[in-house]
Amino acid sequence: MTVASEGTYDEFAAAVGEYDVELTRVAPDTATAVIADLVEGPAVGAPLPWEDATLPDGVTTDPTPAELDAAVTGVTGATLAVADYGSVFLPGSPDGAEPASLFPDLHVVVLRERDIVPDMATAFDRLGDRLRAGESGVLATGPSATADMGELVRGAHGPRDVHGVVLR
C-alpha cells in the first residue's frame, strides 16, 4: 500500500474545493471528536471500515427506514479517493452505508489519506479486482446536483452538502 504524498492530498483538497466540499484532516485518534462536531442530529451511519477510527455515539448505525428518513446527517467511510477529480468511492456494503450516505442532507465522508490515489487510471486499477470480487459502490464527486429545473441546484435527490474527514 503506497502512502499518498503531500502533493496528492493537496490536489484532492483543491479538487473537492471546486464542489464546495470542505475537508478536515485529522489524526485517527481525534476523528471521533471531530466527526461529532460536524454532525447535526439526528444522524445515521455505517461502521467505519477501519479499526483505528470509530463513529461518535450520536450516530445511529443499523438505522430503520424511519430513522433514515428523519436523519439530517449521514456518516460513512470511503475506501478510495481520486485526487485529480476530488472523487470518493462509497462502497455499497451490507452494513447500509449506501442509504446512510444518500438520504440525509449532509454527508460526512471519512477516508484515509493513504487511500487517495492520484488519478482515475490508478483508481480503476484498484476497482477492477474489487468489482470482479462482487463489490459495488459509487464514485461520488461533490454533492447531488441537477440543472433540470433551469439552473444548477444542489441536493436533488441526494445530499446537498458533503464534508470530508481525512485520517492522516
Binding site: 455499497g92 468489482l131 429545473m149
Partner: protein
C-alpha cells in the same frame, strides 16, 4: 420531398424555433462551451479518445463472446440475463418480472434505451404505475412530452415554463418559482413514490464482461435510490454497452461528462455488481433496522438487440454502436443549437448520431424525417469522444434514402450505367433516385458551367421573379435567397488569357485548384490567390479541373461523388508526380481531399492528394515561416486601403475541424491586422442547406448568431474563407465579406 411536405416542414421548424429555440440555444451553447473548457483541462484528451475508440472497436468486434462472458458472470453473481430480440420481446420480459414481483409501482432512472422500447407504456397497459425519477424525465412525464436532448431531456423547457406546468398540474400551496423551489418540490414528491416502489428500472451506460458489473452516469442521486430501495432491479441496456473489463471504463469515465455537459465528471458514477449487497429499504416496515436479516435481491439484465446486431454487420452503420450517448454531437451542432431534438431527432434519439441509431433501430423512413438537418459541417467529428465519423453516417443514410425503392440485386448495374440515376418524374424521390431538390444542388457543377457560359443572362433569369417562383415550386429553392451570380470569365479563362508572368525561377510550383465557386462565382479571390502566391516566389498554374464531388456528396449522391473523386484524382496525378503542391481556396473542397476521399476511394488512394494539398492561407503561412518576404503582401499599415487594420473573421466549419483556422489568424496577425474571430460552429448556410425552402428559417436563425457577433465586432473588414459563409454573411449584413487572401494580396 414535395412542395406540400416542404411547406409543412418549414412550418414545423418555425414553430419550434419560436417555442423552444431560446431555451435550447442557451442550454446547448452552454454545454458546448463547457466541453471546450473541460477537455482543454485534460492533458491526455486525445490519447483517451483513441483509447476509448480502440476499446469500442474491439468490444463490438467481439460482441457475441463478450455477451456470453457477461451472462456467465451475472448469473454467477446471482442475477439473470435476458437478450431481447426487439422492443416487444424486452417489454414482455420486463412486464413478467414486474408481475412475478406483484409490482404495483416501478420507479425509473433515466434511460434512453427504455425510451426506445417504450417500456413505460407497456407496463402501464399491464397495470403497473411507472414513475420517472430523473427530474428532467419527470417534467416530461408530467407534461406528456418527449425528450429534446439525449442527456438533458427537458432542455427545451425554461424554469418559468416548468413552474407554470407544476402550478397548473399540482396546485401547490405556495406558487413555485425558483429552480431551488421546483427541485425541492419534485424531490419530495418523488421520494414518496420511491418509498413505495416495488421495482427499480435503470439503464446502463456500460457493462463489463469480466465482472458482470454496470456503470451508471448520473448527478441527482435518483438512480442510487432506484437501485437501493426496492428489492427488484431491472437494468435495460443495448447489447452494444458491453466492454471487456472494469479497467476499460476509465477513459469513458474521464470523457463522458466533459464531452456532454462540460463537467469533469458527474456527481455519481455508480459501479454496481448486481444484485448489490446494500440492504433494501422497506418503508412499509419503518421500524425494523434495514440491516436486519439477509439481503435478498433480484437482478435482471435485459440486453436489447432491436436491430443492433444487424448494424454490427453493416460496414457503414457499425460505428454508431461506438456511441456513448454523451450528446457532444448535439451540443456542437449549429442546427441542433437552434431547433433541438424535437426537429433534429427521430423516435428516440436526437442530434447528429441519431441518424445512425434511428436508421438501424427504426428504419430509413424515420431517419429520413430529420437526416437533412445534418449539413456535413463536421464540427461533431472533433467533439465526439470516440471519434465517430458522424457526417459520413449521415451521408450514407441519405444515399440509402435517395435509393429507397431500388431493387437491391440490380443496384450495381444502375450504379455502373449512371451514378445516382436520374429519371424521377414527380420530384419526390422514392423511385430510387434523389428528389429534384437534391439533384439540382448535387449537379451544381453542370449548373455552374451552364450559368457561366450564359452569364449575365443566366443570373438575371435565375433571380427574376418567374424563375424564382419556378425554382421554389419545383426544386424548393427559397425565393428569399439571391442565387450567387455566375461570372462570364472564369478564373481558368482569366489565368489563361492574362499577360502577366509568374516568377522565372520559382521556389515551388503549385496547382491552384479552381474549385467551382472560385472558378465560376467568386473569381476575385482566385485572382488574389494567384497574385499572393506569385509575390511569394511560387510558380502557379490554374488548369481546368473537374469538381471535387462535394455538392453531390452533400446530397447523399455517393456514387456520383465517387466518380468525381476518381476523375479529379486522375486529373491531378500528373501534377503530383511532378512534385506540385495543390493549393485549395474552398475549405469544403480541401476537406474532400483530406477527409472524405478516404471514404470514397479504395485502399489508401486518397493519401497522395491528401498529403500534397494545402488550404491557401495554410500554404502562405508555411511560406512565411520558411523565409518568404512578408513585405511582398499588403500589410495593415501599408498602402492598401486597410483603414485601422481591424478585421472580423469567420472561419469555415470544416476548416476549423481540420484545425486550419489558426494559420489564417497567424498570417493576418503577422501582417499587422487586429482580428476578432467568431466562435459560432457554422454559419448556417452550409452549402445548399440555407437555399432550401424548408430550411430557410432555420438557416437564418443559425446565421443570426454569427451576424450578431460580426456586427458587434464593428470591424473595417469582414472576412470569410468559405463560399457558403460568404453568401450567408452577405445576406445577414447586406454586404458580402471577402476572402482573407483578398485583403493580403499585393495590388494588381
Amino acid at each position: 420531398m414535395s412542395l406540400d411536405s416542404r411547406e409543412a416542414k418549414a412550418a414545423r421548424i418555425r414553430h419550434l424555433l419560436e417555442t423552444e429555440g431560446s431555451a435550447i440555444a442557451e442550454n446547448t451553447r452552454g454545454f458546448n462551451q463547457g466541453r471546450y473548457d473541460a477537455v482543454a483541462d485534460l492533458e491526455d484528451y486525445q490519447e483517451l479518445r483513441e483509447e476509448a475508440r480502440a476499446i469500442k472497436e474491439d468490444a463490438i468486434e467481439r460482441l457475441p463472446e463478450l455477451i456470453d462472458e457477461l451472462t456467465e458472470r451475472v448469473e454467477e453473481n446471482g442475477g439473470t440475463v435476458y437478450v431481447a430480440e426487439d422492443a416487444a420481446d424486452a417489454n414482455r420480459y420486463v412486464a413478467e418480472v414486474c408481475e412475478d414481483a406483484d409490482a404495483e409501482r416501478a420507479v425509473k432512472s433515466k434511460s434512453m434505451t427504455s425510451e426506445e422500447i417504450e417500456v413505460n407504456e407497456h407496463l402501464e397497459s399491464r397495470g403497473v404505475d411507472v414513475v420517472e425519477t430523473d427530474l428532467g424525465e419527470w417534467v416530461l412525464q408530467v407534461a406528456d412530452e418527449t425528450p429534446s436532448h439525449i442527456v438533458a431531456p427537458a432542455i427545451h423547457r425554461s424554469r418559468e415554463s416548468i413552474a407554470e406546468l407544476f402550478d397548473e398540474r399540482f396546485d401547490p400551496e405556495e406558487p413555485l418559482e425558483t429552480a431551488e423551489e421546483l427541485t425541492m418540490f419534485a424531490r419530495e414528491r418523488l421520494l414518496e413514490q420511491i418509498k413505495g416502489a416495488d421495482v427499480g428500472v435503470t439503464g446502463a451506460n456500460f457493462l463489463t464482461a469480466d465482472s458482470g458489473s454496470m456503470l451508471l452516469v448520473t448527478s441527482e442521486g435518483n438512480a442510487r435510490k432506484t437501485v437501493t430501495v426496492p428489492d427488484t432491479h431491472v437494468a435495460v441496456a443495448g447489447v452494444e454497452k458491453v466492454v471487456p473489463s472494469v479497467e476499460d471504463l476509465q477513459p469513458f469515465v474521464e470523457l463522458i461528462g466533459r464531452s456532454g455537459t462540460g463537467q469533469d465528471v458527474t456527481s455519481y458514477i455508480s459501479l454496481l455488481t448486481p444484485p448489490v449487497d446494500s440492504p433494501t429499504v422497506d418503508f412499509d416496515d419503518p421500524d425494523t433496522p434495514v440491516t436486519e436479516g439477509e439481503v435478498d435481491r433480484e437482478f435482471h439484465l435485459v440486453l436489447v438487440d432491436n436491430g443492433r446486431m444487424a448494424m454490427r454487420e453493416d460496414d457503414d452503420l457499425r460505428e454508431t454502436l461506438y456511441c456513448i450517448r454523451c450528446s457532444a454531437c448535439s451540443n456542437t451542432c449549429a442546427n441542433f443549437q437552434s431547433v433541438g431534438g424535437h426537429a433534429f431527432g427521430g423516435e428516440t434519439y436526437s442530434g447528429g448520431i441519431a441518424t445512425g441509431w434511428e436508421a438501424g433501430i427504426e428504419g430509413l423512413d424515420i431517419a429520413a424525417e430529420f437526416n437533412d438537418l445534418c449539413t456535413g459541417c463536421s464540427r461533431c467529428v472533433e467533439a465526439c469522444p470516440v471519434e465517430i465519423d458522424i457526417p459520413w453516417i449521415n451521408t450514407v443514410v441519405r444515399d440509402r434514402i435517395n435509393r429507397e425503392g431500388d431493387d437491391g440485386d440490380l443496384e450495381f448495374l444502375v450504379d455502373g450505367l449512371s451514378p445516382d440515376a436520374e429519371g424521377g418524374t414527380d420530384g419526390t424521390g422514392g423511385d430510387g433516385t434523389p428528389d429534384r431538390q437534391k439533384r439540382l444542388f448535387g449537379n451544381y457543377e453542370t449548373l455552374a458551367k451552364l450559368g457561366s457560359a450564359t452569364a449575365p443572362v443566366s443570373n438575371w433569369a435565375a433571380n427574376a421573379a418567374p424563375s424564382k417562383w419556378f425554382l421554389e415550386r419545383v426544386a424548393g429553392v427559397d425565393a428569399r435567397r439571391e442565387l450567387p451570380p455566375f461570372r462570364r470569365q472564369t478564373l481558368v479563362d482569366w489565368f489563361r488569357a492574362r499577360e502577366a508572368e509568374g516568377p522565372r525561377d520559382p521556389d515551388r510550383r503549385v496547382v491552384l485548384y479552381p474549385d467551382l465557386y472560385t472558378n465560376y462565382t467568386l473569381v476575385e479571390r482566385g485572382k488574389a490567390a494567384v497574385r499572393t502566391l506569385e509575390a511569394l516566389g511560387i510558380g502557379v498554374e490554374v488548369p481546368a479541373m473537374p469538381g471535387t464531388g462535394r455538392p453531390p456528396l452533400s446530397q447523399g449522391m455517393i456514387a456520383t461523388a465517387r466518380e468525381k473523386a476518381e476523375s479529379l484524382t486522375d486529373a491531378l496525378a500528373p501534377y503530383l508526380d511532378a512534385n506540385y503542391d495543390v493549393v485549395v481556396i474552398e475549405p469544403s473542397d480541401l476537406a474532400m481531399f483530406r477527409e472524405d476521399y478516404a471514404n470514397l476511394l479504395p485502399d489508401d488512394g486518397h493519401e497522395p492528394l491528401a498529403d500534397a494539398s494545402y488550404e491557401l492561407l495554410e500554404y502562405v503561412y508555411g511560406l512565411l515561416e520558411n523565409g518568404a518576404d512578408v513585405e511582398a503582401l499588403s500589410t495593415a499599415t501599408g498602402d492598401a486601403a486597410s483603414g485601422d487594420g481591424r478585421v472580423a473573421y469567420h472561419s469555415h466549419c470544416q476548416q476549423r475541424t481540420m484545425r486550419l483556422e489558426e494559420h489564417t489568424l497567424a498570417v493576418l496577425d503577422e501582417l499587422g491586422y487586429d482580428v476578432t474571430t467568431s466562435d459560432v460552429e457554422c454559419c448556417g448556410m452550409a452549402g445548399s442547406f440555407g437555399y432550401k425552402e424548408q430550411y430557410y428559417d432555420l438557416s437564418m436563425d443559425v446565421g443570426e448568431n454569427l451576424g450578431a457577433q460580426l456586427r458587434e465586432a464593428d470591424a473595417e473588414h469582414v472576412l470569410a474563407s468559405g463560399t457558403s459563409c460568404t453568401e450567408q454573411i452577405g445576406d445577414l449584413l447586406g454586404d458580402e465579406p471577402v476572402h482573407p487572401v483578398e485583403l493580403i494580396a499585393p495590388g494588381e
